[in-house]
């Protein structure tokens, strides 16, 4: 017992402080990944059954809706391209480096942490797909989190609402910067740390990533401010933020690759 206990303690220490054991975990996960696939089969079966059993009229309606959506998106994209080019030109005038191109690779959420207090999800893309630690993950509505562990065919994503996760953000309206951290109590709440009472922020402000720290590219939506409480007894204001990403419902997620990485 003592020997095994000592061995586990050394392993835990090595795992948490250094990364000697990443290789061990990497190869051991070849053996356990099939279990994750198996655990996900009911969901993927129900997905495919749903896909196959849609009525014709529903599909026609959905097709119509998606076409309309595509049209409006394309219209906005045209404008965006123009703005991007203009932005690049202005940046050149300012002698700033041009914004790096990003491209996304689609992955699917196949599981979540069995520990209810650790907000992590498992996605079905791993080192075989070029996923790396620290890679930003988005869904259709905003920032979801970042990759914290890479296995051969899957990886773990730490959600932005995990208490251990900090996101550098800025207020879209005026560019004020802050740090958003996850909370213990809820999957759907972020708080801003150390916000002084004079900080210009109101309910409804949209927060986007600021790009500070170089981990998340700038400009992705993170959340919407849901309440700002100024308590005279507290040194800082209490700012609650509701994340825009659908943290518990997203099935399809987007892994962001920097254009210059490969």
């Amino acid at each position: 017992m003592l020997g095994l206990a000592l061995l586990s303690m050394i392993m835990m220490l090595a795992d948490s402080r250094f990364n000697y054991l990443d290789q061990v975990r990497f190869y051991a996960s070849y053996l356990v990944t099939p279990l994750h696939w198996l655990a996900d089969t009911p969901r993927s079966i129900s997905d495919s059954v749903n896909n196959n059993l849609q009525s014709r009229s529903y599909l026609i309606g959905e097709n119509q809706r998606l076409k309309e959506q595509l049209l409006t998106q394309q219209y906005r994209l045209q404008k965006l391209e123009h703005l991007e080019a203009e932005n690049d030109r202005l940046n050149e005038l300012l002698n700033a480096s041009s914004i790096v191109d990003e491209r996304g690779v689609l992955a699917q959420v196949t599981g979540e942490s069995p520990d209810p207090f650790i907000k992590r999800v498992l996605i079905n893309a791993g080192s075989a797909d070029g996923v790396y630690i620290g890679q930003p993950v988005l869904d259709a509505f905003g920032l979801l989190g970042q990759v914290v562990e890479v296995e051969p065919y899957s990886s773990w994503v730490l959600l932005i609402t995990d208490p251990q996760h900090l996101t550098p953000v800025q207020v879209n309206r005026n560019g004020n910067r802050a740090i958003a951290s996850g909370t213990q109590d809820s999957l759907h709440r972020l708080t801003l740390n150390n916000i002084s009472d004079t900080f210009d922020i109101v309910t409804g402000d949209v927060l986007v990533t600021s790009g500070f720290g170089g981990r998340f590219p700038a400009g992705y939506p993170v959340g919407v401010v849901s309440s700002v409480v100024h308590d005279p007894g507290e040194p800082f204001a209490t700012v609650s933020v509701e994340p825009t990403a659908q943290l518990d419902r997203s099935r399809n997620v987007l892994l962001v690759f920097r254009g210059d990485a490969e």
Binding site: M1, M12, L21, L35
Partner: protein
């Protein structure tokens, strides 16, 4: 064949039960049910230690815990340590546990899994990874105790049917 391997028999059944327990551990559950998920692997470890103490012990429990750590993506060695401790306690209790009634067994399970949960909690706290807001993580000890009689009967049926020894 059976005579040749009479000493150790039915290893694949043991392996299959561990695999099923691991599968149930990562099976997606609704958010509100998540806290009530029993510690399946711990229960299977306790059963096999009770039934075959000469065969299943600390080492098996430790290996199962190691793979559980990889499966859950948790700190490597966390479940290994907790399950080895559970197996150690079960090894010292198995003679008594075999004589216990269902209620007594379940209360023993409550304590064993409770110790398992507390140990995980302490280690995570020491590693600054603990994010449990309160003692709700102990609920799974209770649910483990509740499902124990069924696990016990099911595994005993398997053991007798396939002559695992």
């Amino acid at each position: 064949m059976a005579v040749k391997f009479s000493k150790h028999h039915g290893g694949w059944i043991i392996f299959a039960t561990f695999a099923m327990a691991a599968l149930f551990t990562v099976f997606p559950l609704p958010q509100w049910l998540e806290s009530y998920r029993p510690e399946w692997v711990a229960l299977v470890v306790i059963y096999w230690v009770m039934a075959l103490p000469h065969r299943i012990g600390l080492f098996t429990a430790w290996i199962a815990g190691f793979f559980l750590d990889v499966l859950e993506g948790s700190l490597l060695g966390l479940n290994a340590l907790a399950l080895a401790l559970v197996a150690y306690l079960a090894l010292s209790l198995y003679q008594r546990m075999r004589m216990f009634t269902a209620i007594q067994q379940s209360s023993t399970i409550l304590i064993l899994v409770g110790i398992h949960q507390l140990l995980s909690f302490w280690v995570l706290t020491a590693n600054n990874q603990n994010t449990a807001p309160n003692l709700i993580f102990m609920i799974s000890a209770l649910s483990s105790a509740v499902v124990w009689p069924f696990i016990f009967l099911g595994l005993r049926y398997l053991r007798r049917t396939f002559h695992v020894a």
